[in-house]
């Protein structure tokens, strides 16, 4: 049982850590004496305290074993390989969208995600990704009148 409860405990500690970080950041907000009563920090302190308190309560719950995720969650196997492909796609996307532009970066993101969800035909996925990204780029961006990073490909068309 202890092994199964461990992720919940870690998560509770994470919530407390986030609360502590928020608390530290709140103390760094300069307060002018004019606003001393209800300045920019009042609600920030409340939010930090809430996170720390709730994280503590979650910790107690997980330690006492009253917080157990649904059985299918704790028993489900974790598909690391799929998650790896997905993360690769996300990292490539962030890294390449600047230098290469939206369409090539999205094409790779699409193909990696498809792979993560079990597709075994990367070339076909790349092609579909290219078409989808192009349609999205020219359709969606035109409709919404927003500017999405233009790169080599977008400039050519």
């Amino acid at each position: 049982m202890d092994r199964l409860r461990k992720p919940e405990t870690l998560l509770a500690l994470g919530v407390i850590a986030l609360g502590l970080l928020a608390l530290y950041e709140t103390t760094q907000i300069p307060v002018s004496p004019m606003y001393a009563r209800v300045g920019p920090t009042a609600v920030a302190y409340v939010a930090s305290a809430l996170l720390i308190g709730l994280g503590g309560a979650l910790l107690v719950q997980s330690a006492s074993g009253r917080w157990v995720s649904a059985p299918q969650e704790s028993e489900a196997e974790f598909d690391l390989r799929a998650l790896g492909w997905l993360l690769l796609g996300l990292v490539l996307n962030v890294g390449l969208i600047g230098p290469l532009g939206f369409i090539p970066a999205s094409m790779l993101l699409f193909a990696c995600t498809a792979r993560a969800f079990g597709s075994r035909r990367p070339l076909r996925d790349l092609l579909i990704g290219l078409i989808l990204a192009a349609v999205a780029y020219f359709g969606f961006a035109g409709l919404l009148d927003i500017n999405i990073g233009a790169g080599l490909l977008e400039g050519l068309i």
Binding site: I29, S32, L50, S69
Partner: protein, 497 residues
């Protein structure tokens, strides 16, 4: 002016050709989004928020409202044919609806869901039409302190009352409030929680949070799980509802509508509770209770009506008070902000064309949805056959456009993925996501009212308990927190005894 003439003015707006077109686009898109598992109206409206920079407010809200109503219709298709509810409120529909589909009665289940949605949507919109104006008259008397306390009630109701665990709901809310604080404090000009990054001075964009939690988080969650291929039931035959089906459906439609609307209109928005209540009510009232669990049509008709009526109900506090009680309503509220429109009780007076045009377009949209869903059920069912690899690949590509398009900053993309990671954890450990979105959007409003109230009272915090209205609201909030705890404690001691 009385309500009816205002509504007539609203129809004059809604029936303009361009607005009819926006409504049609909205309901079509909404239905498609509702059908796709894992996509919801909150995500879709968030992705379309940039449209607020290029079209008039009325058109944008008619589009958003169409998506909102359309997704409710589409969600039932997925529950019935796939047994994987397209959105959380359709879970109950899946209970009987999927059983009916397995018996070859999918067409009848889809028909009773669509007609029930139409009946409920229309009744719910009627409710909205006549409840919102008197509520506004009442709310005009609210001072900042009362408003703050009302928001506290809404916070507690959406995070502590619904969902599996009060603690997890409140944690989600606190996380959302923290996200909402990031950026420059408008009253004092101080930067808060920006971690020294200039990109965060303007605050975290709603689009990044909604898309991160709903699209990236969901995709990560589904990718990490072992794939289980759910099979879509083919929609066969033209056989719609028989005479008996009609006889067994019409009362559940009406009961579901009457049940769903008040649940949606109360600050504790959400369709999960009324759909469940409707299910058990119909089971109790049915002449053939033995059919429940094996595909009883009442079990589809009632909950589906309750679902749609509560969706209409959620718009009551949203339009009359500026109080969002679901993730979708919260995102619509942020659209008001981007037009510089102040949501709240003055909205009906200051923007009558917008509000009444929106309400009228809900009536119009419902008729469009009935026409779209009855004969075209088969077309929507086709959407379900999109293979998962392409579906989720496409979702991430659109998530990138929505986020990168705001600022062309890769920092926003990193933020999107970080929030997606949080969304994954929330999904994995069963934390509700709606409180986070509501906390993020409503939090700054609550802070503003709090500071306003404190300024009026010259820093005297007792203003919140000396004003009768504010005090009663705070007592309600405390009761909402304490009563479930006491009930749980009591059942535990009973258990031991």
């Amino acid at each position: 002016m009385d309500t009816l003439s205002l509504l007539a003015g609203g129809f004059a707006v809604a029936l303009q050709p361009m607005n009819l077109l926006w409504a049609l686009v909205g309901v079509t898109l909404g239905t498609a989004i509702g059908v796709l598992p894992g996509l919801g109206p909150a995500l879709t409206i968030a992705l379309l928020l940039p449209i607020t920079f290029s079209v008039p407010a009325t058109a944008a809200f008619i589009l958003f409202a169409g998506i909102y109503y359309g997704a409710m219709y589409g969600g039932s298709t997925t529950s019935i044919l796939l047994n994987t509810p397209g959105e959380s409120a359709s879970i109950v529909t899946a209970l009987e609806g999927h059983k009916m589909a397995r018996k070859g009665r999918a067409a009848a289940a889809l028909a009773t869901a669509a007609i029930g949605s139409f009946v409920a949507g229309t009744i719910g919109t009627l409710g909205l039409t006549f409840v919102a104006p008197p509520l506004v008259d009442f709310a005009l008397r609210f001072g900042p302190a009362d408003y703050f306390s009302l928001m506290v009630v809404a916070f507690v109701a959406v995070s502590a009352v619904l969902g599996a665990s009060m603690l997890r709901g409140l944690t989600s809310l606190a996380f959302g409030i923290l996200l909402g604080l990031v950026g420059i404090d408008l009253q004092t000009g101080q930067a808060r929680f920006t971690l020294g990054l200039p990109e965060l001075l303007d605050g975290i964009n709603v689009i990044v949070v909604a898309v991160g939690l709903f699209a990236v988080g969901e995709t990560l969650y589904l990718a990490a799980r072992p794939k289980s291929g759910g099979s879509v039931i083919r929609l066969e035959g033209r056989a719609g509802m028989t005479k008996e089906d009609w006889q067994r459906s019409w009362k559940p439609w009406l009961r579901g509508s009457l049940l769903g609307f008040p649940f949606g209109a109360l600050p504790a928005g959400g369709a999960e509770v009324p759909t469940l209540v409707s299910y058990f009510l119909e089971k109790k009232l049915s002449k053939k209770p033995e059919e429940f669990g094996h595909g009883a049509i009442e079990g589809v008709a009632g909950p589906e009506a309750a679902n749609n009526a509560s969706a209409a109900g959620v718009l009551v506090p949203m339009l009359a008070l500026g109080l969002p009680t679901s993730a979708t309503a919260a995102i619509m509220l942020s659209a008001f902000q981007s037009y510089g429109i102040n949501p709240g009780p003055l909205l009906l007076q200051s923007q009558p064309e917008l509000v009444w045009g929106l309400i009228a377009s809900l009536y119009v949209g419902n008729v469009m949805l009935l026409i779209l869903n009855l004969p075209l059920a088969g077309v929507w069912a086709k959407i379900l056959t999109i293979p998962a690899p392409w579906l989720y690949g496409g979702i991430l590509v659109f998530a990138t456009i929505g986020t990168y398009g705001i600022s062309q900053s890769w920092i926003d993309l990193v933020l999107l993925y970080l929030i997606g990671g949080v969304g994954y954890l929330m999904r994995r450990f069963d934390f509700p996501t709606a409180p986070a979105v509501i906390g993020m959007i409503l939090g700054p409003f609550a802070e503003q009212e709090f500071r306003r109230a404190m300024t009026i009272s010259a820093g005297d915090i007792t203003t919140f308990v000396t004003r009768p209205l504010s005090l009663s609201l705070l007592i309600i909030a405390v009761l909402l927190l304490v009563v479930p705890l006491l009930l749980r404690l009591r059942s535990r001691t009973d258990h031991k005894a």
